[in-house]
Subunit: 245 residues, 2 copies
């Protein structure tokens, strides 16, 4: 019987810039071969120092204008930080949806208020989530001797669905997409257009254990039988290919 387990890694201390995340996690988890570790973007960003002190930001006229049109009435300096992280604004009425430098389309460019360091600190997405995932994977190999997969996740909204869902930003040591085109279904017919976003499904499953308020920023997914290696970039639909526009 096929069985997958999702195990919360608990008891991690508050993460600060420069912390060795691999060390913190391996001290609170027992890994098995083939495990995939899903880590919330926020703790990676904190460890990597991807923090901005709001007091250091000057809001442009554009940021002030946008801030007034948003339901959440954010500090215009936060809007400025979002614009700094973005290459394109898709929507700035009621909510701020942009395309980040990585190519993600999401609310507020993934910029969030930090749980640490007071209310005037913001966290930014990692500069290169795939690189962050690979660094953590290498570090965990050093510390545990095991070959793990690593996914760095964040919660994103969706155009035609309500609520947010955990997705994969950075991927190391596991596939991001599993391409079943050309394989046969149960009746022996070829499967058409079936490319599974398996890293996103792993991130979503970890989201069930992470919750949002509980201090479970890392989850082990055990029992997945995955072949191949991918990248978080595999999951980004290029703007030119967006068939829904």
């Amino acid at each position: 019987m096929k069985r997958v387990e999702l195990i919360g890694v608990e008891g991690l201390p508050e993460v600060r810039p420069g912390d060795d995340i691999g060390q913190l996690i391996s001290a609170h988890a027992a890994f098995a071969s083939g495990d995939v570790l899903v880590v919330a973007q926020k703790v990676i960003s904190k460890a990597e120092g991807r923090l901005v002190d709001l007091a250091s930001i000057h809001a442009s006229a554009e940021a002030k204008r946008i801030a007034e049109r948003l339901i959440a009435r954010p500090d215009p300096r936060m809007v400025q930080v979002v614009l700094n992280e973005s290459v394109r604004v898709l929507r700035s009425e009621r909510v701020l949806i942009t395309e980040t430098r990585h190519g993600y389309v999401c609310a507020n460019a993934g910029v969030d208020h930090s749980n640490t360091g007071g209310r005037d600190t913001l966290t930014l997405l990692p500069v290169d989530p795939d690189a962050s995932a690979h660094r953590l994977r290498d570090r965990l190999r050093e510390l545990t001797g095991g070959e793990l997969g690593v996914i760095i996740s964040d919660t994103f909204g969706r155009p035609w669905r309500l609520g947010i869902i955990n997705i994969a930003l950075g991927v190391a040591g596991v596939p991001a997409l599993v391409d079943l085109r050309g394989t046969l279904d149960d009746a022996g017919e070829p499967l058409h257009a079936t490319v599974l976003a398996v890293a996103d499904e792993i991130a979503a499953s970890a989201g069930l254990v992470m919750g949002k308020t509980s201090r479970t920023p890392a989850v082990i997914a055990r029992g997945l039988a995955l072949e191949g290696r991918g990248s978080g970039r595999d999951l980004i639909r290029p703007a030119a290919e967006d068939l829904f526009r």
Copy 2:
């Protein structure tokens, strides 16, 4: 330690119209209290007789015109069936994206070639996936005495992400959204705009065990501590509220 298990229900026979899905599943699974059963839409549709014989369909001029513009070059009668299931066409160039009568925005209105009954049969989405979920839940209560949650799932594409992911169509006995607005985060700050699409995350996690070619059309999610009840409709973003348009 927080732990969730995903257990595949295997060994189900090929499902045919009129089959008692609750009976088939309970004969192949051992449930525990609080389990959530995720069932692939296709077996529900087959049991409910939501099948169309292509030979009975006459393709309109519009269906023929659209079929020629699609990459997959589908049978124009299949396009006709998709149009019959839809209230609005969002895109008919290269791929066919419509809004179904339920309000789902997806490729081909969820219409798919059936694995059974030969290559000229199509499956349609259930007429009312929430009602299907409730019927199955009631039947499982009769058969097992247990209070289970039921989610009917299907794989959908996403506008800005590549690959398909399993999502929740019908929901019974579990929440669809978990609204954390007004609750406090780890630092005691109120969480803003945090509504988790928990039923979609459960469906995605089941997708990891279902795969696509293996005969695992049902998965038990065990260990979720969920409160409240929701509906699959809770997850559909009304067109007027689509902040991404």
